[in-house]
């Protein structure tokens, strides 16, 4: 049967289509413009003003320049290290915590839950946190980028809610069959809640990839700086020394075109993860919407 729309509905639909189209264009045009600029000739980029609708005299020269910059290369490696190690630790702790907090029997669980949830609403703040990290001797070490944020309480609550929704009979019957907590976690809880786990994995990985502030306050040596902090120096503070250090092509390395290529190089890897996880978004986020 064909649906019939009233005039009012047609007008409304047209309005909705136009608005969403404009929004999508507003999002995609600046991003594409940067991609096009990154493939453009550096001299042309210097003369050009406004948006790029296509590459001007296409070249991959800018990208060759980006990878000649030692700071960007070490930044890349540092970021990859923090993303891999950090996210693994995040996931291990969050999954364990969510599992324990989703059990109904143990008496101490209620106290633990209150302790954990309270930290969502009240924090010590930047200065005491810095002093604690300093006291532990972590300042100047990569661990300072990983340990202080080892569990994100919001993500924990999301996963705990998902695990609490798993029928109690599943872990119980496994327990009767002699399975320990480790086995129940890996064989039942994790597979059943994989949508939520996918979403929190993404949250953790993206936040590690994009983080720069902890690096600024905790790290001292340039060799340890993650990519985003290097980017901040290059793109926002216009630090030509970081852009050119150790190379002879100083002028070429600091051109705007190379900056555009740097942005692309720093952003594409994390965007590449996203299509694989997209199907879990709505499902995984929905669980989080249910109050903890």
């Amino acid at each position: 049967m064909k649906v019939k729309y009233t005039v009012g509905e047609q007008v409304f639909h047209a309005f909705v289509v136009v608005v969403t189209l404009l929004l999508s264009l507003a999002v995609i045009i600046p991003l594409l413009s940067i991609v096009f600029a990154s493939f453009s000739d550096p001299v042309e980029v210097m003369k050009h003003t406004g948006l790029y609708w296509h590459p001007i005299k296409s070249t991959i020269f800018n990208y060759q320049m980006v990878f000649k910059n030692p700071n960007i290369l070490t930044g890349y490696l540092n970021t990859i290290f923090v993303v891999l190690v950090g996210t693994s630790l995040n996931l291990a702790l969050t999954i364990i915590a969510a599992y324990v907090l989703s059990r109904k029997g143990p008496r101490l669980i209620k106290i633990f839950t209150v302790l954990v949830v309270f930290t969502m609403y009240f924090q010590g703040g930047t200065i005491p946190s810095y002093l604690i990290v300093n006291k532990l001797g972590l300042v100047g070490h990569r661990a300072a980028l990983i340990l202080p944020g080892a569990v994100n309480t919001f993500n924990l609550v999301v996963l705990r809610t998902a695990m609490a929704g798993v029928p109690e009979s599943l872990p119980e019957s496994a327990m009767i069959d002699g399975a320990g907590h480790g086995r129940i976690l890996t064989a039942i809880m994790v597979p059943v809640t994989k949508a939520s786990i996918a979403v929190i994995t993404l949250y953790y990985a993206v936040s590690h990839w994009n983080s720069w502030f902890p690096a600024m306050i905790y790290l001292k040596k340039k060799e340890m700086y993650p990519l985003q902090y290097i980017l901040r120096m290059i793109l926002i503070q216009d630090d030509t020394q970081v852009m050119t250090s150790g190379t002879r092509d100083a002028l070429a390395l600091s051109s705007d075109a190379v900056k555009y290529a740097t942005i692309v190089v720093a952003t594409v890897p994390i965007l590449a993860v996203y299509p694989f996880l997209q199907k879990y978004f709505v499902k995984g986020v929905m669980v989080g919407a249910v109050k903890g």
């Binding site: 999002v27 200065i127 499902k283």
Partner: protein
């Protein structure tokens, strides 16, 4: 005979006459392994979450790293009093409130509207495309978003160029105090509108289609349906998101502000948290900065608590 048996059964009912201590021992024996599993998490929370909270005692002392948390001289509320008298108190408080109120007014409704619009789209493929595209900026780092914004609003940038057709004199917009707030808010919407709409989209998917059918039969037009069916169904989600947002009000995205501001725009851009960062970590006035930060945390907490109370009263739903 039967009665007697029941009596004995009652007597061995486990929970009946055990003392708290016995209950705890039993609980411990049964769930020991679960508690052991939780130890690393507990250690994390104690050190990195509760540690800083207890570290707030330095707000009441003249903290010297050499003397430690307990050895430094106790000065009571001196730092708080100094902050309230400080020139920066008025400036950072006003800026914090102004930025977060405008953020709430403009950024908060946008994802709700977008979610409703997306759910109204008839073509599945187009709807999918809109979602995919609008989610992208969420994954772009604030460093990159800020640098894109700087690029677009520089003297020769595309936005400045565009505005110059309407008699706008080209300048570096981020050096002008009057543009700071609009740029902060608009770039925030640009980055998060799509991603933040997901939660509402999920809530919209859960609405029973029969409600719309019923409304149509009663003669409700499109707008009437939005008003009388869609919005009420979204309300619980909106309330929860609103409380969360209010809780974050005093923690306005200060990382982004640190990236965006410069001495020319401090007057309108400097918020409590950026001040804490400069005083504490750059000038190393640890105690004073901790006091300022504590003021921020306490106000923040009171805000969430109050909003939650109000929302429980008005709508019957809240966070707790």
């Amino acid at each position: 005979m039967k009665k007697k048996q029941r009596k004995t059964e009652l007597q061995i009912d486990p929970a009946m006459d055990l003392t708290l201590k016995e209950k705890m021992t039993k609980d411990w024996r049964r769930y020991r392994s679960l508690y052991f599993l939780f130890i690393p998490v507990l250690v994390y929370y104690i050190i990195f979450q509760y540690g800083p909270m207890f570290g707030l005692i330095i707000a009441f002392e003249n903290f010297k790293p050499r003397l430690g948390f307990f050895g430094s001289k106790f000065v009571g509320f001196t730092h708080f009093k100094n902050f309230f008298k400080d020139y920066y108190f008025k400036r950072t408080l006003t800026n914090t409130i102004r930025i977060s109120v405008f953020n709430l007014l403009f950024s908060f409704p946008c994802p709700i509207i977008l979610a409703i619009f997306i759910s109204e789209l008839r073509s599945k493929r187009y709807s999918k495309a809109v979602q995919t595209i609008t989610y992208i900026p969420h994954f772009v780092s604030i460093v990159v978003v800020t640098s894109i914004m700087m690029d677009l609003t520089s003297r020769t940038g595309a936005i400045t160029n565009f505005l110059s057709h309407f008699g706008f004199k080209p300048t570096t917009m981020l050096n002008e105090p009057r543009f700071f707030l609009p740029l902060y808010i608009i770039s925030g919407i640009w980055q998060n509108i799509g991603w933040n709409s997901i939660v509402y989209l999920a809530a919209l998917l859960a609405i029973d289609q029969q409600l719309y059918e019923a409304a149509k039969i009663d003669g409700a037009g499109k707008l009437r349906q939005l008003w009388s069916v869609t919005l009420p169904c979204l309300l619980p989600t909106i309330v929860v998101m609103l409380i969360l947002q209010v809780g974050k009000m005093f923690n306005v995205g200060y990382e982004k502000i640190i990236l965006m501001y410069n001495p020319l725009t401090y007057e309108v851009a400097d918020v409590i948290n950026t001040y804490v960062y400069r005083e504490g970590l750059l000038n190393m006035n640890y105690s004073y900065a901790a006091a300022v930060g504590m003021f921020n945390s306490v106000v923040s907490f009171l805000l969430v608590w109050t909003t939650n109370k109000i929302s429980n009263k008005l709508t019957g739903s809240g966070l707790w």
